[in-house]
């Protein structure tokens, strides 16, 4: 079929619009990459001369290193706790009826609509009222609350697409419920558990607003350390940190894409 003039116009409009949108999405990252190479502490576009000194500065700044360690610890503990609690809850949500099931589900899912600053404020007030110290575990608790709904959803979806026949077969052959769970259910749920846990860890690692309310100097996470840096200094060190951040995330996503195909994970096929 021959393309009409209108078709050509539409095709080209589509291309131009798409290029502009992709440009908008990528613009800040390209700009921040240029800024990170700016030699002087005061930004200028285009840069007068180039240097890598801000990358060196980013690696030497103590708060970033400590923040990174804190963030990794908090993300690991938070994701692990959320995974154990969330997987258990998704299981009973899918399989059983019990008193207050709806209420429990509602409360656990509420962080999806409660703003993070409200969650942070709530836990801060609660810990103050209960005279709890502001330790790392308070930050972990906040992160568990925020990421739990995503873990529950991820595992719940896996359970919905689950072939119950294997469990029934094992059960009818005399396996105890514990054995069915360990040898059939858990292995079959692995993809859902891994993607749920991974997603929880990434969300926790990036969480900023709620954390800002509950951290102190000793427990501050990397995003909080970065925020405090911008408030104190105007030099492009944070641009260097941002570039490292973007590269690590993009490479990770590319790896996940190669392994799992993101289209499938996100249900956009």
């Amino acid at each position: 079929m021959k393309k009409s003039l209108l078709d050509h116009v539409l095709d080209w409009t589509g291309r131009i619009v798409l290029t502009a949108i992709v440009g908008f999405v990528l613009l800040p990252f390209v700009v921040v990459a240029i800024a990170s190479l700016n030699e002087s502490a005061i930004l200028s576009f285009p840069p007068d001369s180039l240097s890598l000194r801000w990358y060196a500065n980013a690696f030497e700044y103590r708060d970033f290193a400590e923040g990174l360690v804190n963030s990794l610890k908090i993300a690991a503990f938070g994701a692990l706790i959320a995974l154990v609690a969330g997987a258990g809850f998704a299981y009973v949500l899918d399989r059983y009826d019990f008193a207050l099931k709806g209420l429990l589900n509602g409360v656990l899912m509420s962080p999806l609509i409660i703003p993070n600053f409200t969650i942070g404020l709530g836990l801060l007030i609660l810990s103050a009222a209960a005279s709890l110290p502001r330790t790392m575990w308070l930050v972990v608790a906040v992160h568990v609350i925020i990421v739990l709904p995503f873990v529950v959803r991820s595992v719940y979806v896996s359970l919905k697409n689950f072939e119950r026949g294997y469990e029934n077969a094992a059960e009818s052959l005399g396996a105890t419920p514990g054995r069915v769970l360990l040898t059939i259910t858990l292995p079959l749920l692995m993809p859902g558990l891994i993607s749920g846990g991974l997603f929880a860890a990434i969300l926790s690692f990036n969480e900023f607003t709620a954390s800002l309310f509950v951290v102190n100097q000793r427990t501050q996470t990397l995003p909080v350390a970065m925020y405090n840096y911008v408030r104190e200094y105007a030099d492009p060190t944070l641009a260097a940190v941002s570039v490292i951040y973007v590269v690590v995330v993009a490479v990770t996503l590319l790896a996940v894409h190669k392994l799992f195909r993101l289209e499938k994970v996100l249900n956009v096929e």
């Binding site: 209108l6 809850f89 019990f98 404020l121 009222a129 941002s242 996503l253």
Partner: protein, 283 residues
């Protein structure tokens, strides 16, 4: 009912977390009814003063700013996100589709700080846009993006775009292509097929994406805080300021409570809309 192995074991951890959520929510509610004692972190006796204080113009302004930001951000995010989602699902080249997916998704995993900081570099007075425009002589003094509502909207659109694109793409991916083929075979042109078949069928997805965009914008803190720089106060920045600059946690609690009531009301409206649409779709 058959036997239910593991029920207690599997429910207890999440029940404990739910208890924590409920307790912190009650803590906020309780603080919102307590008097602020200047200089002390312990709140005073019970009072309704915090809620009457919220009628002051500063808080009204913060509320209005939040609503404006939510509206403009949702509008522009949809206008930009729809074509992107459409190309991501429909473009004939699988490589381009994958590339678009990666490009739209990467920002989702970058957190608010990296993205907001990057926009400060783009929009600042000595930033990329102003620097380049002055370099080529198009303007001789910088355009103000920082500390303006418009600047905050630009960064918030970028912040909200990935999740909206993913939701729209999921909605578009689940449209039955046969309906479009039927329209085409009956002689409808591309524009007509889009306007009368594809677009109406994706409306539930649009509504769902809009409600998520609203919730994200409402919840955003770093972007209005850093780009607004105190000139564009929102409910979130106000809660933080009242809490950590004047240590008036009772007022911060009542402000977040009112904000939460507002969010719940708006999201309930969206939900009602989605239900209605699903009913129409079912007929």
């Amino acid at each position: 009912m058959k036997k239910r192995p593991f029920l207690a074991w599997f429910v207890s951890p999440s029940a404990l977390i739910a208890f924590g959520i409920a307790a912190s929510f009650l803590a906020i509610a309780q603080y919102s009814l307590r008097a602020h004692v200047p200089g002390a972190l312990e709140p005073g006796g019970f009072t309704l003063d915090n809620f009457t204080t919220l009628w002051k113009a500063v808080y009204g302004r913060a509320f209005l700013n939040t609503v404006l930001l939510c509206f403009w951000t949702a509008l522009f995010t949809l206008l930009i996100g729809y074509p992107l989602a459409y190309a991501m699902v429909r473009h004939p080249s699988p490589r381009l589709r994958s590339a678009l997916l990666l490009v739209s998704l990467t920002p989702l995993f970058l957190g608010e700080i990296v993205r907001t900081y990057s926009w400060i570099i783009v929009l600042g007075n000595r930033g990329f846009v102003n620097g380049m425009l002055m370099e080529i002589g198009l303007i001789d003094r910088p355009i103000d993006f920082m500390f303006t509502l418009g600047g905050v909207v630009i960064a918030l659109v970028h912040f909200t775009l990935p999740i909206v694109v993913v939701m729209l793409a999921a909605a578009l991916a689940h449209i039955d292509r046969n309906l479009e083929r039927a329209a085409t075979s009956l002689g409808a042109g591309r524009i007509r097929v889009f306007l009368t078949v594809t677009l109406p069928l994706s409306i539930p997805g649009i509504v769902a994406a809009t409600s998520t965009a609203f919730a994200w914008t409402f919840s955003a803190f770093a972007t209005p805080q850093m780009i607004g720089g105190g000139q564009v106060q929102t409910i979130s920045t106000m809660v933080y300021q009242v809490g950590f600059a004047s240590f008036n946690f009772p007022l911060a609690a009542s402000l977040s409570l009112v904000g939460l009531a507002f969010t719940v009301a708006v999201l309930a409206l969206f939900n009602l809309g989605i239900r209605r649409l699903e009913k129409i779709g079912a007929h």
